[in-house]
Each structure stands twice: as C-alpha cells, then as structure tokens.
C-alpha cells in the first residue's frame, strides 16, 4: 500500500509542469473583437476578457473567452446573440488550443510573424484552423500578441436569420490583441 502511495505521489511530481524556468505568458484581459460586415449593416462586438496562455517551452497556445461578455452596443442585439445564435447557456466559451509553426526567439523590442495551428471551438463545434499572427516582445516580461482570422458561421452550425434588421454577415472577422505577462 505504501509503495502505491509513493508511486502516486511520484507520478504527481513527475507530471507537474516545471514552472520555474518556463517561458510561459498569461493574460486575463485580452481584447477580442469581431466585425460583421453585411450589405445592409456593419457592426462590431467587443470583449476585454480574453484569457490566454502562451507557453513557449511546450509550444502551447491556449485561449478562451466567455461569450457572455461580448457587447455590440445594443443590449437587445446582445441578448438575441446570446440566446438565438451563440446559445451561450449551452456553449459559453469560444476556445483555441494549438501550437505555432516556428518558435520565436525574441529579445526586447523584436517581433515575429507566426502561424498558429490548432483546434478552435465555438457553439459546440470544433474545427482545425490556422491563424496568422504576430508576437512582439514589449519588455522582458511582456509579450504582445496580435492575430486576425475569419470565422464562417455556417462552419459552426450558427444559423443566419433571413429577416434581421441588423443584418448579420456569414463571415465574421475576428481580431485579437493581448499583452501577456510572464508567469
């Protein structure tokens, strides 16, 4: 029995991430903005509560956002967005987990264009996507991430209404901007 205990504990330690020397950056206040550009109307939705983790040692990019926090400037439109389209009660998050093609080795002030590949999930549908972006070392402990990608609503089973006064575009342009701090 004692051996098992030791085994379990050892496993614990072995599997614990080594954080001390990690090149890991985190944020809880990144900005996500989507732009819907339909023929009749154009609007944006913004949230400043993007949670993100960039771990350069493990090459992991992990981001998520609570979709309830997105505001479009019209309260009723937000409610309709949550209830009829994103169905946030069932699927509260949009998330991305992936890795980048080439690990950057940046010093202060430098930046590099990267492409992240991974799984993007929204409205209960998960798809493999590729996101071009840019990493900038703002200071020793801060890294800036900028990215832009397109989301086709039909890819994620989000129906577009045919009769909507604030016409919604099938193609949503998502822009991400975040300053991540070293853990």
């Amino acid at each position: 029995m004692k051996r098992l205990l030791i085994l379990a504990l050892t496993m614990n330690f072995l599997m614990l991430p080594v954080e001390t020397f990690a090149q890991a950056f985190k944020t809880e206040s990144g900005t996500v903005e989507f732009l819907s550009k339909a023929s009749l109307n154009e609007f944006t939705g913004v949230s400043n509560t993007l949670n993100g983790l960039v771990d350069l040692d493990k090459n992991m990019f992990d981001f998520f956002i609570d979709l309830n926090t997105i505001k479009t400037g019209i309260g009723l439109r937000d409610k309709h967005m949550r209830e009829n389209y994103l169905e946030t009660k069932k699927f509260p998050f949009a998330e991305f987990t992936g890795k980048i093609d080439a690990l950057p080795n940046l010093t202060k002030g430098q930046s590099q264009n990267v492409t992240a590949k991974g799984k993007f999930k929204i409205h209960g549908v998960e798809r493999e996507i590729s996101v071009p972006g840019k990493l900038t070392m703002v200071s020793e402990n801060e890294m800036k991430l900028e990215a832009k990608f397109k989301v086709m609503l039909s890819d994620y089973n989000i129906d577009i209404p045919t009769v909507v006064f604030y016409e919604l575009s099938e193609e949503q342009v998502v822009t991400i901007e975040a300053i991540l701090k070293k853990k």
Partner: protein, 291 residues
Amino acid sequence: MNLRYLFLLAGFVFTFPVFGQLERKLASEKQDVDLIFHAPRHINLLTVEPLDKKALHFAIMHTFGTLDGGIQELWGLDNGANIQFSFEYALSDKFSLGAARQGLDKVYNIYGRYHLLKQTQDNQMPFSLSLMGGAAVNTSNYEFLQNDAPDFIERTSYAFQVMAARKFNEKLSVQISPMLAYFVDPNPIFFIEGDQNLYLALGFSGKYKVTGKSSLTLQWIPNLNNDLRNNVGFGIDLEAGGHVFQMYFVTSQFLNEQYLLAGGNGTLGDEFRIGFNVNRIFATGRKKRMQ
C-alpha cells in the same frame, strides 16, 4: 484494494494541469437570465422584460370584432379595431416611463415600470419581479350629457400590478401578475361592463418556445372581486430581428390595463377576437464601444 484506485485516481486528478490548458471559467456566475419573454408586452399584459437604458419600446396593438360573425364579417375584422399605441422609454436599466392611447373611450394612460429583481442563471435569484403603476384619463366627448357629463377627475382610472416571472428552462416561462384597477366613477357611459370602483385580478402569462424565434403564448386573468367573465387569450409570438409580432385570440377587446379588468369579456369560443401586436425596440444613445 479500493485505496489503490483512490491513490491512482488522486494521482491523475492532481496532475490534471499537466495538460496545461487554462481552466475554462465564466467571467461572471451571476449572469442575468435573458429574454424571459420576447417583448415588454405579452398578449395584453406587460411583462418583466426590461428595456436597456435609453431604449424606446413602441407597441401597436389591435383587437377586432368577435369571431361569431363568421366569414360574412371576416371573423370580426370588418367590425373595426380597437387600437392602442404605446411608447415606453427607459430612463435607466431598471425604470421606464410609458404613454399609451387606446382608441375605445380615447383613453390616455401614463405608466411606469420598475424592475426590482432579476432572475439569474445561477438561480441565486430564482425569478424576476417588476412593478407597474399607471394613471389614465378618458377623453371621449360627453358634451351631449350636458350637466351630467363626467368631470376630469371622474374620467380618471388607475392601475397597479406586480409582475413575477420565471424562465423555467429554455422553452417555458411563466408570469403571475396580481393586478388592481380603480375607476373614480365607473360611469355606465364608459365602455366598461363593471359597475364597481375597484377591480382585483390575477394575471397568468405563459410562453412556450417552439423554435428559436417563435413561441406559443397563453393568458388567463381570473377576476377576484367581481362576477365579470375572466379574460382568456392564446396565440403565437414571432421574433423577426428587431420586431416581435404577436398574434392571438382573446376574449376582451380592451388593451389598456384598467379597461382589461373592468371591461368584461366575451364567452369562450364564439366571442373570441383576433388580436395583433407589433413590438419594436429602438436603441437610441448607443454605447460607444470600448477600444
């Protein structure tokens, strides 16, 4: 033996972060429940559905003649409609002021709605509660009555109600509204059936979602202190972007809260009337988006 599994399990549970992903956490657990009803109105009754600050709600409501005229009267549509226009403007997210005019008896009604409690998704607050108060004046021309014509005060009537509603699940919402109406002078010349000053009733509103943007609707308003027939209505709500269309059958031709309680109702079946509301919310003073 079981302990072994327990330790192994513990090993896996505590090492979960090894996969490295962030824990998915809601920004706020206390998120309000959205859209308990489709609009601030539901058949004839006001709901707990609030307006955002500076939003303007416009409703145009109609009821037609009774169904018993059959196709000859196009099921009441030939008999002319009682129409009410109402505008309601939100001074804050909790308080809105409205003005309505009903065609029958040319009634102008000024009212306010205050949202006291809001149902939350974590069920800490299991229901929404709103209050409504209104004062109306009948502006019909009664000059032909000469000295017996009612004066201004005698033409006024007042309404008060409490609306308590809960969205039980994605499909079903129910509201219970204890209601009160007071007529200073229930003059028989008015289009009301009741002859008392005070009317008490209990309004029930139900909504059952059929698809994302349409619901079956129900209304039942039993009277508590008089022998007038009770109001019954049922219909369908259709959401089309910024509009909510409400089509229904109802036993009363009245649209104003006071007249709904004092006006009397037809019998079920033959004396149902076709009713039709259009709700539109205008978002004025859009919030500047943050950058």
